[in-house]
Structures are given as structure tokens and as C-alpha cells.
Amino acid sequence: MASLLYPDETLLPTDEFSERMYLSKKLEIYDGQNQVDPLASFSDSTAVIGAEPDLLTNDEISSPRRQPSNWKPLRILAGAHQGWVRSVAVDPGTNLWFVLGLTDAQIKVWDLASGDVRATISGHIMAVRSLVVSKKYPYLFSGSEDKTLRCWDLEKTNSTSGCQIRSYHGHVGGVYALALHPELDVLFSSGRDSAVRVWDVRSRVQAMALTGHSGDVTALFAQTGDPQVVLAGMDGTIRLWDLRNQKCALTLAQHSKGIRLLVKHPHELTMVSADATGTINQWVLPGGQLLNRLVTPESAQHDTNIINTLAINPDTNDLFAGYGDGRMNFYDYESGEVMQQTKTKPTEGTPSSTIYASTFDMLGMRLITCENDKSIKIWSQEHH
């Protein structure tokens, strides 16, 4: 690809371990050395916070102070698109490719290792705002500003008739957020019409509509246990839904402005939310207690603190926040301290950069950021 730019060849990783981890190849040397008992962590109780004396009276602070992280741009795919990149999703099954949703109404599937376009999916007529890849099926779900919600069969991307197999009709506004239930074949979608709709994936029938928000529902996620769906909206509330009884179990109203982001931790029963003032709150899940309020260092030159994207690294437990003015903050998820502060450099022809979407890959070794300069940046951590 001519448009592929490698800014610095020396930044490519050289160590075998990370490469092999990245390509999910077997490492014979490390076999059997670093075995962790999977049940060890579950021996502790997981009851609700309020009734946990053992947690609260724990004298030792378990996690030692971490080294500051050092994320550097590894590769820039510049000029790859015709529009801003508004959404990104990594394949949860193989970790070999990722999908981008663009404002030019296209969806592109990229190979994570080689940086080639695997497929271009067109069909939407406005910007694609949300993407989710199924773990069970080769399906990709996309929600767009054109009020449609479509299901694509990724095995049929080569067919001339297109790979769209389903369309979920019912939204009366743009679709901003999507989530799949981890166990059931149920799709949650929300957006401009301030209602969250619950779809049966196979039959395209809307099973429920979760109402109550008085503004756009900008973010949501689904999980196995209660609360099964958590929604965040521009009315400044986070709502924890009890799907079994079809009622909103708890409303968190501690954000002072509209909440744009809500991300669940991949391994923990905690979640992070960020509002338009730049406040990042950590919550404990079943009960919805406020766990921590992350402190962003004050800086005079940044007059806006609008966070556009949050991503949690499943491996190093980093929390990444991408700002509207191109700032990138990395927090330690446990302590909430800032580990690294950088800023993206826009590619030529773009006066200022804005980060719209980001995600870590499934192993936590690469960070993909999507920006307004129509480029994709892949970041990796430089090891000391």
C-alpha cells in the first residue's frame, strides 16, 4: 500500500515474546513456567461492598506502585479513509483484525498485523457510529446516524450482492451505542431517540424498549450478571437495569453534565464513566457505589476537557482517555493515577487532531486510535 506510512522503522517491536503473543503463537520456552491457578482469585468473596469487613480492614496494599507506562506510536495508516473514523472494534475471537466505522458511511475491516484492508462494507448512508463484533457468530453489527441498525455476515464480504443479512427497524434517531449480551442472542442499541431497544438477533423482533432517559443514550454495555444492562445518557444519569423484572434498578445521578462514555472493565465488576466536564468516575457494579474519581491534571492551555473515548487495557490495567483536542492520558485503573500524558500529532493537512474512538486489542499490546485526520494510529508500549 502506497498510502501506508511507517514513521519510524526502529519503533517496530523486536522482541520475540511480544511478537508471538501478538500473533497468538505458542511459546515453548514459557510453557509451564508461569502457570497461574485460575481458581485462586475466586477464593475471595465477591459480596456487595457495604458488608465486606475483610476488604475494608485489609492492612496491606496489594499492588505495588507501577512503572509509568510508555505508549509510543508504532504505525500510522494515513490517508486510509475518506472520512473521520468514529467507531472501532477488535475481533474478540481471533484478535487478528479490527473494524472501523467511518463518517463516509463505510465500514472497513483491517488486518491487525499486516495493516491491509481485508474488506470494505458499504450499505449505510450516514456515519457509522457504533460497531460490535459477535463472539459466537461471524457477524458484525453496526449502528449508524441514518437510524438503521444492520447485521453483516463477515464470511460473505466477497459476494456481489453484499453481506448484509439483517436490518433491525425501529429506531427513530441515530444509533450511537451497541452491545451484545455475552450469553443470550440479544442485541442492545441506543441512540438519539433516548430509548434503548432490545432486539432478538435472529428474528429481528424488538423484545423491549428501555425508556426513562430524557436525552440521548450515548453509551451502554451488557454483562452476564445483574445489572445486565447499564446505560449512560446525555441527561447526566447512569441507569442500571434489571432485565428480569424489566425495571431500572438504580439511577446514578452524580455526574453534573451529559455522560458520553461508559466502559466496563473486561475482568472486574467495575465500570468507568466520563462526562462532558472531563470527570472520570469509577463505579463498583452490582451496587453502583462510587469507587473512585480520577483526577486529571489541571492545565491552563487546555480549555476543553471533553473526553471522546475511553479504553481499558485488559493486560496492564491501563485506562486510556482520548480527548477532543488530541490529548491522550493513561491512568492506572486501580489507583487512578496518571501514568502517561501525550498528544497525537495530526498528519499533514489537518490543523488539529481529535481522537474519536480507541480500543486496545484483546491482548492489550496495541492501542488503536481513530482520529479526524482520516488516519489510524496503532500504538505500542516501549519496554524498558
Binding site: P38, L39, S41, F42, D44, T46, I49, L55, L56, T57, N58, I61, S62, S63, P182, E183, L184, V198, D200, S203, V205, Q206, A207, M208, G212, S214, G215, Q223, T224, G225, Q228, M234, D235, G236, L243, R244, Q246, K247, C248, A249, L250, T251, L252, A253, Q254, G258, H267, E268, L269, T270, Q282, V284, L285, G288, Q289, L290, L291, N292, E334, G336
Partner: protein
């Protein structure tokens, strides 16, 4: 200046709850008198007090100890059945309230969960969603539809019983129709009802049949196809079909007339023959008398012409070849 006296902002995300305190009751208090007077508030504690129905929108909810449960009251008034965090403690992060809090909140999947709570949660959610979907798509099965019937048959052995489980089979609404779709079904009228009569005793003879026979219509003026049309049909056509059976002819007069005509004819012919015979005789007589004189005349003429020729022939002799 109080903020309450300011006009309501045009665009607000959250509708504030309109709180109107109820009119003072008889005992000059909002709360019921027994609640205020009693030393033990638990004694006759109402669950909730609905304030004056005309003005109030606020329904008070009480805690077990008799104090007003403000969060519940407010959520009830906002019309959303949800719980909220309403204490000051809730606004302080756990990490600050408990500085030595261990960060350990593991999430379980279905496979790793020690108890069956997740399993139950997923199963119940699935059931709820299936019920909702069934309601939407209309494939709900009615509970009262199933009937059990005792099966009685001679094939059964003694003491053996069988039951038949009868359920209404739901028809697939997407199946093609079983009847044939026809156009204009209404336009085809039903056949008239049969008129029932007693059979007539009359025997149908050939005459009656012939009487009812309608001859084929033949025109005397048009025969575009050029068919050969037999004379009787032409005659029939010419008479308009009236003469077919009734030929009104006077044979006697006709034979007399024809006989008279024949006699007159033969008589006239005889007279004519006689006349001819007489005339022929008279002509014969005349011819025999006139023949000799005519021959003599002719001879004389010929002799005269010969004499003239002999006298004139010397100078004008015809050339000999």
C-alpha cells in the same frame, strides 16, 4: 434574589419535580397528628401519606423509624420506579472513605462462577425475553387449550388405559392458501332453482315433433358462401315458412282447365294443318302452269345474247394464251 423566582430555563435535561406542600390539615401540621404526638412513632405508623389530592403531587414515604424517606419520596414523585443514591456518603468515593480498600472486584463468567446465580440470572432473563418475543410474534400458547381425553378402544387390554392429549395446532400464518384464488367470484351467479312439475300424459308423436320443427333460415337474396340450396327450402323461404304444411290446390278445375286447353290446342293445330295443305296444293298448281313459259323466255334471252356476241366479236377478239 431567589433562584425559584427566575423563569424556568428553556432547555433542561431533567424536569424538576414540582413540590407543592399540602394544605394545612386540621391540626395545623402536614403530618398526621398521631404520628407527631405519639412518643413511639412505630405505634400507628402509616406506610405512606397521600397529601391533599387537589394540590399535592408529593406522596410521602416513611422509614420504619418514622422519618420521611426522602429518596423514595422524590423518586416516587418523579414517576420512575427506581432507587437512587441520596445520602452525602454516596457522593464520596469508596477509595477515599476507605483508604486501605483492596481493589479486588472479580467478575465471573458462567463457567467460573462458584454458585449458580449467574446461571439462574441468564436462564430467567432468557425466559423473560422468550415470553416477550412470543407475545410480539403472536405464537403464545394458551394454557386452557390442552384437554385430556380418555381413550376407549376394543383393542386395549383389560386394565390398560390410554389418554389423548388434545391441543389446538397453531397454523403457520405464512403457508400459502389452500383454496384457489379466482377472479370475479361474485359475478358468477348461482344457477336458478329447478322448477318441478308433474310429467305430462301427452305422447309426443312425429306430427308434434314436426310442428315444433323450425326450418333453417334461408335467404333468397343472400348466399355469400355459395351453398347449394335445395328448392324446397327456397320455396319455404319465399313463402315465409307459411305454405309448408297446407298446399291449397284445386286439382279438378286444374285438370279441366288443362284438358280444355289441350283440346283447344289440338283443334287449333288441325285447322292450321288443313289450311297449310290447301295452300300447298294451290301453290303446286301455280308452279306447274308457270314453268313452261318461263323456260321459253329464258331460252329466247340466251339466243339473243349469242347473236350479239357473234357480230361484235371480230375486232375485239380475246387474246389467246
Amino acid at each position: 434574589m431567589f433562584s425559584a423566582s427566575l423563569p424556568k430555563p428553556k432547555h433542561t435535561a431533567i424536569d424538576s419535580i414540582r413540590v407543592v406542600l399540602p394544605k394545612k390539615l386540621d391540626n395545623q401540621s402536614i403530618l398526621p397528628r398521631n404520628l407527631l404526638d405519639s412518643n413511639d412513632p412505630q405505634a400507628n405508623l402509616p406506610k405512606s401519606v397521600k397529601a391533599d389530592t387537589q394540590n399535592a403531587v408529593l406522596q410521602l414515604v416513611f422509614n420504619p423509624d418514622g422519618s420521611i424517606d426522602y429518596p423514595k419520596t422524590l423518586t416516587l414523585a418523579s414517576g420512575v420506579d427506581t432507587s437512587v443514591q441520596a445520602t452525602y456518603e454516596d457522593t464520596i468515593p469508596l477509595k477515599i472513605r476507605y483508604p486501605r480498600l483492596k481493589h479486588h472486584f472479580p467478575a465471573y463468567t458462567l463457567e467460573t462462577c462458584p454458585d449458580d446465580s449467574l446461571q439462574r440470572c441468564v436462564a430467567e432473563t432468557k425466559e423473560v425475553i422468550m415470553n416477550l418475543l412470543a407475545k410480539v410474534s403472536g405464537v403464545e400458547e394458551k394454557v386452557g387449550d390442552v384437554t385430556m381425553q380418555q381413550y376407549a378402544s376394543s383393542g386395549l387390554k383389560a386394565g390398560e388405559t390410554k389418554h389423548i392429549h388434545i391441543t389446538n395446532l397453531k397454523e403457520d400464518p405464512m403457508l400459502p392458501p389452500k383454496h384457489k384464488l379466482r377472479n370475479n367470484r361474485e359475478s358468477q351467479a348461482a344457477p336458478p332453482p329447478p322448477v318441478l312439475k308433474a310429467q305430462s300424459a301427452e305422447k309426443i308423436t312425429k306430427d308434434i315433433k314436426d310442428k315444433w320443427h323450425i326450418p333453417s333460415s334461408v335467404s333468397n337474396w343472400k348466399n355469400n358462401q355459395g351453398f347449394t340450396i335445395s328448392l324446397d327450402k327456397r320455396v319455404n323461404a319465399a313463402s315465409g315458412g307459411a305454405q309448408l304444411g297446407s298446399v291449397d290446390f284445386n286439382f279438378e278445375n286444374f285438370s279441366r282447365l288443362s284438358l280444355a286447353l289441350e283440346n283447344a290446342d289440338s283443334k287449333a293445330r288441325k285447322e292450321l294443318e288443313e289450311k297449310h295443305a290447301i295452300r300447298r296444293q294451290m301453290l303446286q298448281q301455280e308452279n306447274t302452269e308457270g314453268d313452261s313459259s318461263r323456260v321459253r323466255e329464258l331460252l329466247e334471252k340466251a339466243r339473243q345474247r349469242k347473236r350479239i356476241d357473234e357480230s361484235e366479236d371480230q375486232p375485239n377478239k380475246r387474246r389467246q394464251y
